[in-house]
Structures are given as structure tokens and as C-alpha cells.
Amino acid sequence: MITWVALVVVVLMLASAVAVLLLRSFVAAVAASSVVGLGLTVLFVLMRAPDVAMTEAAVGAGLSGVILALALRRLGLWHIEAAAEDRDRA
């Protein structure tokens, strides 16, 4: 049972890791990279390492995603609603 759960999580992680490379939107790529960390958290819980899982959830899934997202904003690549406004302006 646990093997199947782990298998699903691993496939999800691989899919989102590939998605990071293929997605055109930077915001979506950052979100996908957080999903990799989230999957790793689940794997750590399955392997009965709750301490590591908490660290991974906080740093891998949360903090690194936030820092990447803030870096996108700093570089002016953060476009969700702004894309429509830009089109109107241009």
C-alpha cells in the first residue's frame, strides 16, 4: 500500500520537475517547483522522518517558493493580472 502511495508521489514529483522546464509562465514554474518539495515532504513522512519532513515543508515547499516568487517580482517577470494591463497599454 505504502509502496503505491510512494510511487504516485514520485511520479507526481517527476512530472512537476519536468513541468518546471516546460512551462512558459514563470509563476507556474515556481509553483511547480514547490510541488516537488511538497512531494518530498510526503515521502519523508512515509519514511517516518517527521523532523526532516517539517524542515522540507518549511524550506523546500514554502520558503524557496516564496524567495523564487519574490525574485521574479524583482526582475519584473511576475505576470498574472499584469499581463492584461500590459496588452492594453501597448
Binding site: P50, D51, M54, I67, L70, R74, G76
Partner: protein, 229 residues
């Protein structure tokens, strides 16, 4: 030329990894130290959570090294992102839902973070995890209301005092016990909140330091001026 160089580099790295992998079978040499610590730690340190016993009791100086690395990273981020034009555009505040949600989340995250820090020697968690949760609590507020900014002087005071407290506890143990960061103050009853000697104090110092540092880094990046789109 550059492609050739990167190909050479990747090839060399693969060769090194293969050389190491061919010499070592997976999982050998077996690390016996884990079993030894499992057998000895409950009586020696008195922490119900053995991971914390290892992190703060047996490998405290490793943890100090991690704190030093984090400090260097926070300082570098502050140096690189520190400047901001006085008239730079600030982000508009979030909507009503976002602001109310942030105000509701803030005390909750604060309590969870302090709980995780205080129970680091009893349940999974500890200074680092709790510190990140504390940093998240302050960062949620900044996200909802960008005009409200963190006082960086206060943050660096908390950070410095917590780091100094960690080292001072270590030096105190060096004087008292002869080993840097050796657990002091007696073990107490395992499973009690006040047990495992100085481990809760070290955990609190780490939590405050990590929380202040990460909140500082994120506030720095968030306050950095965004280019006009």
C-alpha cells in the same frame, strides 16, 4: 568552446561519481553510530525526541555552523538588496480579504511557531522549523500590507542576541563540563516540558535567530523596488 568546456565538466563529474559508486556498494560502510546513539542517548541527554538530542546534544557544533552559514546568507542578502530609492514605487496594499486573513493568521502562526520551538525536545520539530514558521507569520503581514515594513534594526538585535546566547550557553558548558555545548542543568523527567537540560534554551535561541534572519531576508527582498512594468 563553452559547450565543449561544459561537456568536459559534465563528463568529469560523471566519471568521478562513477568511480565513487563503483568503489562503494549502496549503504556501506554501515554507519554504526546511529544504533549506538539510539542506545545511549535517552539516558545521556534525556530528550524524548532523539533527533533534537543529536542536533543539539551530540552535534551542537554542526548546528552552530549551520547558523553561521545562514547568518552569512542573510548578511549578503542585506548588502545586495539593502538600497532603496526614497521615492521608489511601493506595492499597493492587498484587498480586505487578504488583510483580514493575514491578521487572523498572524497570532495562529505565532502560537504554532512558539509551540514547535518549545516542544523541540519532546515532539518532532525544534528551533529551525519553528523559526521558519515565526518568519512566515511576519511575512504574511508584509505580503498583505506592503506599506507596513519590518524594523530591521530590531530584527538584527534579536538575531545577534539569540546567536550570542547560543554561543554563550556553549561556552558555559565548556567551562562547567569541559565540552563545548554539552547539555547542562540536569536531565529532568523525560517527556516533561522542562527536561533535557539546556536543549530547550538552545532550541529557543535557534528559533529566534532563524526566525529573525529569514523574516529579515524575505522583508529585504519584498521591499526591494520592483522595476516599473
Amino acid at each position: 568552446m563553452r559547450n565543449l568546456a561544459s561537456l568536459l565538466f559534465a563528463g568529469g563529474l560523471a566519471f568521478l561519481l562513477l568511480a565513487i559508486a563503483s568503489q562503494l556498494a549502496f549503504g556501506t560502510p554501515s554507519m554504526r553510530v546511529g544504533a549506538e546513539i539510539l542506545a545511549v542517548a535517552p539516558d545521556e541527554v534525556g530528550a524524548a525526541n532523539l533527533v533534537t538530542a543529536v542536533l543539539l546534544g551530540y552535534r551542537g557544533i554542526d548546528t552552530l555552523g549551520e547558523l553561521a552559514i545562514l547568518f552569512a546568507a542573510a548578511t549578503a542578502a542585506g548588502v545586495v538588496l539593502g538600497r532603496r530609492h526614497a521615492n521608489a514605487r511601493r506595492d499597493p496594499p492587498g484587498g480586505e480579504v487578504l488583510r483580514t486573513g493575514a491578521d487572523l493568521l498572524f497570532p495562529l502562526l505565532l502560537v504554532v511557531g512558539l509551540y514547535v520551538i518549545a516542544h523541540g525536545h519532546l515532539t518532532p520539530g525544534g528551533g529551525f522549523q519553528g523559526g521558519v514558521i515565526l518568519a512566515a507569520a511576519f511575512f504574511v503581514i508584509i505580503l498583505a500590507q506592503p506599506t507596513r515594513h519590518l524594523r530591521h534594526s530590531l530584527i538584527s538585535w534579536i538575531e545577534g542576541l539569540a546567536g550570542a546566547a547560543f554561543i554563550l550557553i556553549g561556552l558555559w558548558a565548556l567551562v562547567e563540563d569541559g565540552d563545548f555545548l554539552a547539555p547542562l542543568l540536569g536531565q529532568g523527567a523525560m517527556g516533561e516540558l522542562l527536561s533535557a537540560g539546556t536543549l530547550p534554551l538552545l532550541s529557543l535561541a535557534i528559533g529566534l535567530k532563524v526566525g529573525a534572519e529569514l523574516a529579515g531576508i524575505m522583508a529585504h527582498i519584498a521591499e526591494a523596488e520592483a522595476p516599473d512594468a
